[in-house]
């Protein structure tokens, strides 16, 4: 898998911490592998919206990657509840269902961006940089600029 320049938290230079929410173990593993190529760290995982809310409180991640179609509580509702409690939460919806109504509903209810599955790592990388803005720094490769 392609390796990307590491994304580090601007405030302390530590890896960006992710909460990965998807009812598919396969999808969670895939996303975890992708964010590791960004130099990130998976702080927590959840398989449904309810668990995502408690995992957010427990892990306080820098960013959430959230599926939409899930059992018990769907991703858009979970995103809304998380943002209600944590207005600073950065949530990126990651779903195979990418039609306009879904995207608009997610953005209106607190998500910051949307990425359609199958996830292209280069797209997700740019979205994460955009969503985290000044809170993330692209680490220079060792020896760069020497």
């Amino acid at each position: 898998m392609e390796q990307f320049a590491s994304l580090k938290r601007s405030k302390d230079g530590q890896p960006v911490r992710y909460l990965v929410v998807d009812d598919s173990v396969f999808a969670r593993k895939n996303l975890a592998r992708i964010v590791e190529t960004f130099g990130g760290q998976v702080a927590g995982e959840a398989g449904d919206g309810m668990t995502a809310i408690t995992e957010y409180d427990r892990t306080n991640p820098d960013i959430v990657l959230m599926d939409i179609t899930m059992p018990q509580m769907e991703g858009i509702e979970a995103a809304e509840k998380i943002v209600a409690q944590h207005p600073e939460a950065r949530i990126v919806m990651v779903s195979s269902v990418g039609y306009q109504e879904n995207i608009v509903a997610a953005l209106q209810r607190g998500a910051r961006h949307f990425v359609q599955k199958p996830v292209k790592p280069e797209v997700l990388y740019e979205v994460i940089k955009y969503v985290l803005g000044e809170d993330v720094a692209v680490a220079q490769a060792a020896g760069a600029g020497a």
Partner: protein, 167 residues
């Protein structure tokens, strides 16, 4: 079943399988199936409800499912690994989600349900309304069968216009 319903699934399967498996995909056999569905191996079913209703079954023979799951995992998996079933479910989810996105842009509205493992040997008998189209997607890692049974739940704008014109 009209081709306008099927083409988005073919396009989505091409996009998802070609990108995920990093190998070209081609369409092999296309056939209509009016008899009850018979499972070939590891299968996942995705239900959709709304303007169009029905279900899509993704079915891979056990060897292909293992090869595909191992490729995605980046390591050889044992046949008993749950990740094999998870992989088939997620592929079904991604192809259906992408197809539904296209159909939604064409004005159809519906809801996609989470994928479920199809464990029984047979499915329900298809009716005239829900006869299934079976599409064989050929890849270098094996064949992926899509069994699509959908029906319109609302009349299409074109049909209404034709009816109003007395055709």
């Amino acid at each position: 079943m009209k081709m306008e319903l099927i083409q988005p699934f073919i396009n989505a399967a091409d996009a998802v399988l070609a990108q995920g498996l990093q190998t070209p995909m081609s369409i092999g056999n296309l056939s209509m199936e009016q008899e009850a569905y018979r499972r070939k191996g590891v299968a996942a079913v995705v239900a959709i409800t709304g303007d169009i209703e029905g279900r899509i079954v993704f079915d891979l023979d056990p060897e292909t499912a293992l090869r595909v799951a191992s490729f995605f995992a980046g390591a050889e998996l044992p046949a008993s690994d749950d990740l094999v079933k998870e992989t088939v479910c997620e592929l079904a989810n991604q192809v259906t989600g992408n197809a539904v996105t296209t159909l939604n842009d064409q004005g159809f509205h519906f809801r996609v349900h989470p994928p479920a493992l199809h464990t029984s040997e047979h499915g329900p008998t298809n009716t005239e309304d829900t006869e299934a189209l079976v599409i064989c997607c050929e890849t270098a890692r094996g064949n992926v069968f899509m069994n699509i049974a959908l029906r319109y739940n609302v009349r299409l704008p074109g049909d209404l216009a034709a009816a109003a014109a007395g055709e």
